[in-house]
């Protein structure tokens, strides 16, 4: 059937004076396939849109070319007109006769305007509609982890009305949170009992993920618990597996009972039966890992607690204090006011054990001299590392890590909680070094993101904008390997042949697969070869 193409030309309030619009209209009108052509002075304004709409209806136009300014500014406005007229918004092209033509050139500007419009007409003739479709999603969330962020997120997701599974590798929920608890003074046990009492939350401990299939909205996760393996369906995944710390010490010092971690000191501070209170305590941070905030936070809190509870003499050796978290400058001031001694040093102090005491030799930058200190307990410098399972999990989930090995690629467009794989979210310490207020923001962010995705039970999205033709696909896997969003999988079709299938929900329409497919089996609506060639041949 002959396509009825309507061309709407805008002269931007008669400001594009170097184009002879009468000549443009005359030339374009002669071009075969152009059903209607209208010159409207300000197409993007209400009156212009009205004229465009009535013309589309009156002349039975079924696809549209607009020759106006950059699509950056107004494309969404014109697409809306098409939708209002009951046309598919993809049956539309824009020719930029303002910034890329009138403003840019002298000489035969009219000629270029005509060419741009005819290129768009030739493309538009071949365009195919892209329909929207409702995709049903599983209204269940899997939260992986058992620390503060995981428990808190589960509680909020459940309150938002979503069935939630909280799964962790360890046997007891909230076991490793002593340090965080002391940092922000909450009670993990009450949170754990709240989770346990919540009917909307299923708890799986000593369990881990072994495989995942499916895409956003409908993931199938294989979970191993003990010796049995089960499959569950989830609409979204929230990864909150936290971080681990490692003492940055030479190995012979690690075994010394008086050289401890921040977590060990937290336990000592809480221990009512502690026999000997350490008289002198040393802390160290920011020498071997200069890019973490949490050691500063832990040191300030623990130094203050030791000062207050035990009345110990406290010396802190550090290079730079990391005060770029909420309230930390004040905490730093408070610690100094309480008599905690802060000693800045550019190089890591030397540590030795002598007669049961720990000797610290440092060069202080203010005093410009050597400091020798013998302390009873040294809280050694800690390095922040990704949790143990991160490596294995990231390959199961197929999500990238950053340069320090934590989850989430360093692409700034992914922040705060999304991964490059739609439907998989990353929150808290497992995506980097976050203080408590940042973790809380992560938790709230993920709750609303998951709610947005799953609450209604279905998602309206464009279907088959990018599609692999099962007849042409030879299952070479090139597209599956290249897709940055992990949106393509192999499925078995009738006759036992395996072909690539693109998930409409996971696809971001970047077009890489369509460009690279050696069998030319993948088409990207709006950018198909014939559509692009039709434009090129116009001016050829």
């Amino acid at each position: 059937m002959e396509k009825r193409i309507g061309v709407f030309i805008c002269n931007c309030g008669e400001t594009l004076n170097n184009i002879d619009f009468d000549a443009v209209v005359k030339k374009v009108a002669e071009f075969p396939g152009v059903t209607s052509i209208k010159l409207i002075s300000t197409l993007c304004l209400e009156e212009g849109k009205k004229k465009m709409l009535s013309c589309i209806k009156k002349e039975n136009i079924d696809r549209v070319v607009v020759a106006a300014c950059s699509p950056e500014f107004k494309e969404h406005v014109f697409r809306q007109v098409l939708e209002n007229a009951g046309l598919n918004a993809h049956l539309f092209s824009m020719a930029n006769i303002k910034e890329q033509c009138s403003w840019a050139h002298e000489g035969d500007v009219t000629g270029k305007a005509v060419e741009l419009i005819i290129m768009a007409v030739n493309r538009t003739r071949l365009l195919q509609p892209v329909k929207k479709k409702k995709f049903s999603v599983t209204r269940k969330v899997l939260v992986i982890g058992g620390g503060f962020a995981a428990i808190n997120a589960s509680l909020q997701l459940s309150r938002a009305g979503l069935r939630t599974t909280l799964m962790q590798r360890a046997a007891i929920l909230g076991a490793g949170t002593a340090e965080v608890e002391s940092l922000c003074g909450f009670d993990i046990n009450s949170m754990v009992s709240e989770v346990e009492g919540d009917e909307n939350i299923e708890i799986l401990t000593s369990a881990e993920m072994t495989a995942i299939a499916g895409k956003i909205g409908n993931f199938t996760v294989r979970i191993r618990k003990g010796c049995e393996e089960i499959s569950h369906k989830y609409g979204a995944l929230v990864v909150a597996t936290g971080y681990q710390t490692k003492l940055a010490l030479e190995s012979e010092l690690k075994s010394d009972a008086n050289i401890v971690s921040q977590e060990k000191l937290c336990h000592m501070l809480r221990d009512p039966d502690l026999e000997i209170r350490p008289g002198t305590i040393g802390f160290m941070f920011d020498f071997s890992d200069e890019n973490s905030r949490l050691p500063t936070l832990a040191t300030l809190n623990n130094a203050l607690a030791a000062k207050r509870k035990w009345g110990s003499e406290v010396y802190v050796f550090y290079k730079s204090v990391k005060v770029d978290s909420e309230g930390i400058e004040r905490l730093y001031q408070e610690a100094r006011d309480c008599g905690v001694m802060f000693l800045k040093s550019d190089i890591s102090p030397r540590i030795a054990v002598e007669n049961g005491k720990i000797k610290i030799e440092a060069k202080d930058v203010f005093l410009d001299g050597e400091i020798n200190l013998a302390c009873d307990v040294l809280v050694a410098e800690e390095q922040l590392l990704p949790a143990e399972e991160t490596e294995a999990m990231s390959s199961i989930l197929n999500i990238r890590k950053d340069s320090s090995g934590f989850y989430q690629d360093e692409n700034v467009h992914l922040y705060p909680v999304t991964s490059e794989k739609k439907g998989i979210f990353i929150i808290g310490g497992c995506r980097g070094d976050l203080d408590i207020s940042r973790v809380l923001a992560d938790i709230s962010s993920v709750v609303v993101s998951v709610y947005e995705l799953l609450s209604s039970g279905n998602i309206l999205a464009e279907a088959e904008r990018v599609k692999a033709d099962p007849q042409k696909c030879v299952a070479c896997l090139t597209c599956i390997r290249i897709c940055p969003h992990d949106a393509i999988q192999l499925i078995r079709v009738d006759g036992g042949k395996e072909v690539a299938e693109i998930s409409d929900l996971a696809c971001e329409a970047c077009g890489i697969c369509a460009a690279i497919c050696p069998a030319k089996a993948i088409t990207f609506q709006g950018y198909r070869d014939e559509e692009i060639l039709a434009q090129v041949e116009t001016i050829g």
């Binding site: 931007c12 990391k322 005060v323 309230g327 400058e329 410009d368 809380l440 992560d442 709230s444 962010s445």
Partner: protein, 427 residues
């Protein structure tokens, strides 16, 4: 009469306000996005891209995308040039009074053709385009320069406008909105470097702030000395100007990283330039920053100690006096350009808005959170805070905080009235 509303008002269309509004709108909530300026984006829209051969992850490029999405979102109603004048009611049923400055140029009708600027007889032009990435891209009128506001009868732009978008007869517009919740995201003021008189800002042309430098890179794409137009060879960055001092009990979170990234950009354009950064403590934490810091350590000179005085020499260079703590003595160095890494200050008008809304301010002058475990909530139920109006944040943290505020609003509006009474403050 039941006037319960589930609409949300977001006050301030900087990056956190936009993040809040988008998240709310995508969750099906109707949003009013209030902005006191003519264009949205706030401070975040004025930062430059700091990429060298590789992306430096400054997040400046995230902003235009979000702005465009918010401006064209069918569920977000944008109210520019508008301020909040009054508030009554409670959670679920707030009445908000809004005043809109006279809109001399109708945003719906301006097509940014530029004819008005061409005919405007003043210098500088009283009617001009907003900055390049501005959205909505509508021309703005400066009452300060426009002849009509000086009693003259100039009518050139109005007559020349092809879409009749300019009207001088318009009056301020008052309107009242009914909303269920309010998110305050009014952002920050850049610290006024003139307050530190001894550092020479405002007196010496070659003393700039970090924000000035951002804008020079955005506008020109390269760095030249404001005084002579030559390429500077010796540049000093002074950290903590308006942070971590007797008046500011906080770190501004952003300055160390923007200074290092700008220094990296200067070195990229001119590898022979010498760049020194004077600091108290280096804030080098953050995703992916370790790899950049390793590079910066190799080609930037870091000096522990913040200068107290900058003096211009007869030849126009700048003498910087500082205590080099590592050497334990007072030193003097000469630079061609000094950049003050100015920090984030609370908005001067925060106090007025706090009074109108009945919310508390913290000791530092930012809006106070209800408690440290809920940094989006205020002492008033249904009024939330997002972004740098609550405390210093960089762009990613502001976006996260904005989304978190939206989350709180969605959760509380999703509850029935009785549930809300029984379950105040969801953490």
């Amino acid at each position: 009469m039941n006037t319960e509303s589930n609409d949300v008002l977001v006050v301030g269309a900087g990056i956190s306000g936009i993040a809040s509004a988008l998240e709310l709108a995508n969750s099906g909530v109707n949003v009013y996005l209030l902005e006191k300026e003519a264009v949205v984006g706030g401070h975040s829209a004025s930062f430059c891209c700091k990429a060298t051969d590789v992306c430096s992850q400054c997040s400046a490029c995230v902003v235009p995308d979000k702005i465009k999405e918010a401006v064209s979102h069918p569920q977000i109603r944008l109210l520019t040039n508008s301020t909040l004048r009054g508030l009554s009611g409670e959670l679920g049923n707030f009445q908000v009074a809004i005043t809109q400055k006279p809109q001399y140029i109708d945003q719906e009708r301006c097509i940014a053709c530029g004819l008005c600027t061409k005919v405007c007889p003043t210098d500088p032009k009283a009617i001009h385009p907003p900055f390049a990435e501005a959205m909505p891209f509508c021309y703005v009128l400066d009452e300060e320069f426009c002849l009509r506001f000086k009693g003259e009868k100039c009518d050139l732009c109005r007559k020349g406008c092809p879409t009749k978008a300019i009207k001088f007869t318009v009056k301020p517009k008052e309107q009242e909105l009914s909303v269920g919740a309010i998110i305050v995201a009014t952002g920050f003021d850049v610290f006024n470097a003139r307050k530190k008189g001894s550092l020479g800002y405002g007196r010496y042309r070659n003393v700039l702030t970090g924000l000035d430098l951002e804008q020079i890179f955005t506008r020109e794409g390269y760095l030249r000395l404001p005084a002579s137009g030559e390429e500077p060879k010796n540049i000093a960055f002074i950290q903590c100007v308006g942070s971590r001092d007797e008046d500011h009990d906080y770190c501004s979170h952003v300055c160390c990283k923007y200074a290092m990234k700008l220094a990296g950009l200067i070195k990229y354009h001119n590898p022979d330039a010498l760049v020194s950064i004077f600091y108290i403590d280096l804030q080098t934490a953050g995703k992916g920053f370790a790899q950049f810091y390793e590079q910066y350590k190799k080609n930037i000179r870091f000096v522990r100690g913040v200068p107290v005085e900058v003096l211009q020499t007869a030849s126009g260079k700048l003498d910087v006096r500082f205590e080099d703590i590592s050497q334990g003595k007072v030193c003097k160095d000469t630079f061609e350009l000094v950049v003050l890494s100015v920090g984030i200050s609370p908005r001067e008008q925060s106090w007025n808005l706090a009074r109108t809304l009945g919310i508390n301010l913290s000791d530092d002058g930012f809006f106070a959170e209800r408690d440290s475990m809920s940094t989006n909530e205020t002492n008033v139920d249904g009024i939330f805070i997002a972004g740098t109006c609550q405390g210093p944040r960089d762009i990613p943290d502001s976006i996260a905080h904005g989304i978190a505020a939206a989350s709180k609003a969605v959760q509380i509006l999703g509850q029935s009235v009785s549930q809300r009474r029984g379950n105040q403050g969801i953490h």
